[in-house]
């Protein structure tokens, strides 16, 4: 479904991705792991063409994404649940979802999907999204991905900055979301990531240094720890 082939990406003059290749098959949850600053977020941004790669290719269902604009990538069914959630805090919960429904789709249908998956959003639908708790904002961000009629969700650090008991809720929300779509998941919380994922990639210094089946490793394995612990 998604084939990232040898992409190199820069922020200004700093070389962030030095030839990243990975693939995601339809229906899979793939975890992308690694320390802070190794290029996980940049990989997602490069797929979305928010940070277009200077070389290499990103193919989605056979179509080359490099050269397209971000909204075109989004229209093809690639959704983004970014780090820090980036919900529109001044808009209501419902407006946050509404803005994510593609042109031509039935808004009421799309909203009911999100509200069924995350009933708390239905209770708060008239509330300004900025007044939600961190966990609720994460559910809204995931809900936005759901109503976007996406086939592939790029999820970035969904458990970051949340209290442990909220993380469990978010893990449930992720599992619910993953049952609907394919997912490429960036997550520092190893047990959470391995629990959800079918396969994983490990990124270090802008390169993929390891990959494999999630079942074959555990969070304590030296194989993962040497790339992940600080």
């Amino acid at each position: 479904m998604l084939d990232v082939d040898d992409i190199e990406s820069y922020y200004g003059e700093s070389h962030i991705l030095e030839g990243v290749s990975l693939s995601v098959e339809r229906g899979e949850v793939v975890a992308l792991m690694g320390r802070n600053g190794v290029g996980k977020t940049t990989t997602l941004r490069s797929i979305l063409q928010l940070t277009p790669p200077r070389s290499g290719s990103v193919r989605y269902d056979g179509t080359e994404l490099v050269g397209l604009r971000t909204h075109e990538v989004a229209e093809m069914g690639v959704g983004w649940i970014p780090e820090d959630r980036r919900i529109f805090s001044q808009l209501t919960v419902e407006e946050n979802l509404r803005v994510s429904v593609p042109d031509g789709s039935d808004v009421a249908d799309a909203l009911s999907v999100a509200f069924e998956t995350f009933p708390i959003l239905d209770e708060r639908r008239e509330q300004a999204a900025g007044t939600l708790s961190g966990g609720q904002q994460q559910m809204l961000a995931l809900g936005r991905g759901l109503v976007g009629d996406n086939d592939l969700l790029l999820v970035d650090e969904p458990s970051e900055g949340l209290a442990p008991q909220i993380v469990a809720d978010v893990a449930d929300a992720l599992a619910a979301t993953a049952s609907e779509t394919t997912m490429l998941l960036v997550e520092q919380n190893l047990p959470l990531a391995l629990d959800l994922a079918d396969r994983f990639y490990v990124l270090d210094n802008g390169r993929v240094v390891d990959d494999g089946d999630a079942d074959a490793v555990s969070a304590d394995d030296e194989r993962l720890r040497r790339y992940l612990s600080a």
């Binding site: 979305l48 604009r69 909204h71 229209e75 970014p82 529109f88 808009l91 407006e95 803005v99």
Partner: protein, 344 residues
């Protein structure tokens, strides 16, 4: 200490402060001042609304906004002068005014959209100073072009265009009395247009899908793009809308003797527009509306005060700037501003 207070009291009495206060609170005076203030507020809202919409979404301080207002005033004047004859009745003149407004809105929106696509779009990734210099340059070019055209037709570019002023219907040009209160028709018309403009913009922003895109994009344009919104196109539409609203404001000012169509109108409109937008908080439409109400009412009060009660006629012109300084000291981000606005 008491001597200082005594001296101050004496000065107040001497300058007519107490007499002024007694006169000011008379109902007829108060109502007149409020109506004048609301008329000023309406004008401020109309010249500032486009500026604040553009800044809120694009993060661009459009220094050409005043020039667009000025061009709107001239174009509106052209439509009126060409269509209104001495025999045209007052209601026909009013109807033609709305035709002029629609024409000017269309032309200015097209001009604004073209400026955005051709000149501003290549500069979004640069520092704001590039956009400021660019739009400032656009102002100079537009002003010179208008000056050349106006002079070619034998008009004085510095003075208000009298022929355009003369197309105003008689019932807007005269004062109407209601008991002891006397109000100029144009002031009421300006208030009406201001209310309609605010209602139209507010309705568009909150009740249409495109308005939702604009509000989302104003908060986080990258996220909006990642949700499938063609933010570049939304930018162009908003710039065109902002320019169109500036044109509508100009059409209205063409009828107002205090303003009138003239080349210096560009600067005369830009300055209060910036003051209002900054007081309200850059980029918030709601803040701009409240700020325009505040500035208009304070302006009208001070004008009455320093003309009728205390002789100091230079002060009213400074009032809005004093208000600006006061707000910036007490609340630097503006009355309704958030710390960070703008799409970039």
């Amino acid at each position: 200490m008491t001597t200082v207070l005594d001296a101050a009291m004496a000065l107040l009495l001497q300058t007519g402060f107490v007499d002024g206060l007694i006169e000011f609170v008379q109902p007829d005076v108060l109502v007149e001042v409020v109506v004048r203030g609301l008329a000023k507020s309406a004008i401020y809202i109309m010249i500032a609304a486009g500026l604040t919409l553009i800044f809120g979404l694009l993060g661009v301080l459009n220094f050409a906004h005043g020039a667009l207002t000025m061009i709107g005033a001239y174009l509106g004047g052209v439509v009126m002068v060409l269509t209104v004859g001495s025999g045209t009745g007052p209601w026909a003149r009013l109807a033609l005014f709305f035709v002029a407004m629609a024409v000017v809105f269309g032309l200015l929106a097209a001009l604004g959209g073209s400026i955005e696509i051709a000149l501003i779009r290549p500069l979004y990734d640069r520092a704001p100073i590039y956009q400021i210099l660019l739009t400032f340059g656009v102002t100079l070019i537009l002003e010179e072009l208008v000056r050349i055209v106006v002079q070619f037709y034998g008009l004085q570019p510095i003075a208000e265009w009298q022929e355009a002023l003369g197309t105003i219907p008689v019932f807007l040009d005269t004062s109407h009395s209601l008991g002891p209160i006397s109000v100029r028709g144009l002031a009421l018309f300006e208030i009406l247009l201001g209310v309609l403009t605010v209602a139209a913009i507010w309705g568009f922003l909150t009740h249409t899908r495109y308005g939702l895109f604009i509000r989302a994009g104003s908060e986080d344009s990258e996220m909006a793009e990642a949700l499938g919104i063609d933010v570049r196109r939304v930018f162009t539409v908003v710039f065109a809308l902002g320019a169109g609203i500036a044109g509508i404001a100009g059409t209205l000012l063409m009828w107002d003797q205090v303003w009138g169509a003239s080349v210096p109108l560009a600067a005369d409109a830009l300055l209060p527009a910036f003051v209002v937008v900054i007081i309200g908080g850059l980029g918030t439409f709601r803040g701009t509306v409240y700020a325009a109400l505040l500035v208009g009412l304070v302006d009208a009060t001070m004008t009455w005060w320093f003309v009728n009660a205390v002789e100091f006629s230079a002060l009213p012109q400074m009032t809005i700037f004093l208000l600006l300084v006061l707000v910036l000291i007490l609340k630097p981000q503006g009355l309704f501003g958030v710390a960070e606005v703008g799409g970039h």
